[in-house]
């Protein structure tokens, strides 16, 4: 007795193949959905901002009059924020990564720090805002100045830098370390002169991605009470400030009152996305240029 009815198999084969083709197209459509949304989103913000982005928009200060309003304050605030976030995350992130990869012995402390970092990566950004509000703004009395915002953001993006730096350090081949030790170099000399330079492209990529995350992040700053009022341009890390996402937030909310604010928000979004696009391109360039040199 035959266990397999060949005819039945052949008859069913046709419909099985059809199902496969249909499914393939459905999966493709689902994949293209993301692309569609991206196109619509960019089209919308560009269309809304046409005629609004000009030299004055970039160089004017904030104003209640939509015609005069500009984002100079938000741009300089973003720059000052980076002045804090870039060095702080770099020192904390790379330092943690060096400790975990080069010094920490495999054991409880190392595993604990590692788990802690992956958990921190999953904490909602607004909770970091509350930490910043409670510790930096209130307990340390910094208020809503650049330094408080920058420290809060640094802690928020710290896991990104740590993980990227760890991967970069781990990718430095052991034979380079051996070459250095073989010359009589100490551990720190080896890390400083061989490991870090070799890991630098990977570390930089991580730092840029972390910074672009910090530039686009809004929630922690809202919690810190960053104003969208008419404040003077910040002159340093101890001044009050605003950033582009905050500007987008308030203009979007107020677009119900003044319709043109929606255009201003769209204009700011275009500038913000441009900045992020440039930063990400640099990160990709670094990654491609220095990939697999060993």
């Amino acid at each position: 007795m035959k266990h397999i009815d060949t005819k039945l198999v052949e008859k069913k084969m046709g419909s099985r193949l059809t199902t496969n083709t249909v499914a393939k197209n459905v999966f493709l459509a689902a994949t293209l959905f993301g692309l569609l949304v991206l196109v619509i989103l960019i089209y919308r913000v560009v269309a809304d901002s046409i005629g609004w982005i000009d030299f004055e928009f970039l160089t004017n200060k904030l104003s209640t009059d939509p015609e005069k309003a500009g984002i100079m304050g938000a741009i300089s605030g973003t720059l000052w924020l980076m002045v804090v976030v870039a060095p702080v995350t770099m020192i904390l992130g790379v330092g943690t990564a060096i400790y975990l990869e080069e010094y920490a012995k495999k054991g409880r402390l190392q595993a604990f720090i590692q788990t802690n970092i992956s958990n921190l990566a999953g904490v909602p950004s607004i909770v970091f805002g509350i930490l910043g509000l409670t510790v930096f703004a209130r307990a340390l009395g910094l208020g809503n100045i650049v330094l408080a915002g920058g420290l809060t953001m640094s802690l928020l993006v710290l896991p990104v830098v740590v993980v990227a730096s760890q991967e970069a350090i781990r990718a430095v081949p052991q034979f380079l370390r051996e070459a250095s030790y073989g010359m009589g170099a100490t551990k720190w000399q080896t890390i400083k002169n061989v490991v870090l330079p070799a890991a630098l492209p990977g570390i930089l990529t991580g730092v840029i991605l972390a910074l672009s995350r910090a530039i686009g992040e809004t929630a922690p700053l809202v919690v810190l009470g960053i104003p969208a009022l008419l404040i003077p341009l910040p002159d340093g890390i101890f001044d009050k400030f605003t950033v582009m996402p905050m500007q987008i937030y308030y203009w979007t909310l107020d677009s119900a009152l003044v319709a043109e604010y929606a255009n201003l928000a769209a204009g700011t979004i275009v500038i913000l996305l441009l900045v992020l696009f440039i930063m990400n391109s640099i990160a990709v360039l670094i990654r491609n240029k220095f990939q697999r040199r060993f």
Binding site: F175, E178, A185, Q189, N193, R293
Partner: protein, 273 residues
């Protein structure tokens, strides 16, 4: 069982500037045992290594020859599970002595690795790496060191016009000679070579071998090789390792023409390994 046969008519007839009389001993290994975790990798090693000799260490894969040479500059301890007993004396000082810093040991004892491992920096930066680490900053001195070391490694003519190009642009053989130059830059006393030609083509191999002959005038060289012809060609003394033990250690001519141990004979006649 290991006997260091001291022969007067050694192949090495270098004249040492300080003591012309008797050649000194650079390394004296006494009852060395080494474990990787549970694996007993080196068993009761006793070896005396003379200065200005080329000492070859041969044996089949996994016999402990690489482990031994890496123990001589304590690189083996980079693996955390390593346990060591016995002693190794370098110039009559125990290398395991707490007061003898491992960095100082490695300053006196340079190493050339199996795979060429230049730093991803310029040729110049590769050579000055050691001197800079050891606090030599004077640009003029560094320039002189670079030329001297690259000449010493017989690669100067090939790279003198592109000292500031990345070392990764060099061929494998050139990279290995650059690594030798990098090692020479701090003027070590001993140079350890861990199968330095195993990743090289025959012509590059020949160049490195010639270089070794040249270098033995100024340095004591210990070379691990799985290439018996190489050992026969370039070394003054040869130690045969098997399963973590030294089976035989004698003048190279003796080892290759008239080995006393059956296992040595089997190995060099190609019956195993």
């Amino acid at each position: 069982m290991t006997v260091s046969t001291f022969t007067a008519n050694s192949a090495a007839n270098t004249v040492k500037d300080k003591t012309e009389s008797k050649k000194g001993m650079v390394y004296n290994t006494k009852d060395l045992n080494l474990w990787y975790g549970e694996t007993h990798a080196l068993k009761n090693i006793n070896l005396e290594i003379q200065e200005n000799d080329v000492t070859a260490i041969i044996g089949p894969s996994g016999c402990g020859k690489s482990t031994y040479i890496k123990t001589l500059n304590r690189m083996v301890e980079l693996t955390p599970i390593v346990k060591i007993s016995g002693d190794i004396q370098y110039r009559e000082k125990s290398i395991f002595d707490k007061n003898f810093k491992v960095e100082d040991l490695r300053t006196h004892v340079g190493m050339v690795f199996q795979k060429p491992n230049p730093f991803p920096k310029s040729i110049y930066e590769n050579v000055v790496y050691g001197p800079k680490i050891h606090g030599i900053r004077d640009k003029k001195v560094l320039d002189q060191i670079v030329e001297k070391s690259l000449r010493g490694a017989a690669i100067w003519d090939e790279v003198k016009d592109r000292l500031h190009e990345n070392a990764y642009g060099l061929s494998g053989g050139q990279q290995q000679r650059l690594c030798i130059a990098r090692c020479l830059a701090i003027e070590p006393d001993v140079i350890l070579m861990d199968e330095p030609t195993s990743a090289l083509d025959p012509i590059s191999t020949l160049k490195v071998e010639e270089l070794v002959q040249e270098l033995k005038k100024d340095f004591s060289i210990i070379i691990v090789t799985h290439n018996m012809q190489q050992a026969a060609r370039i070394s003054d003394k040869t130690a045969f390792f098997l399963n973590g033990e030294v089976i035989e250690y004698a003048d190279t001519d003796v080892i290759f023409s008239n080995p006393t141990d059956k296992r040595t004979e089997d190995y060099i006649t190609g019956r195993f390994g």
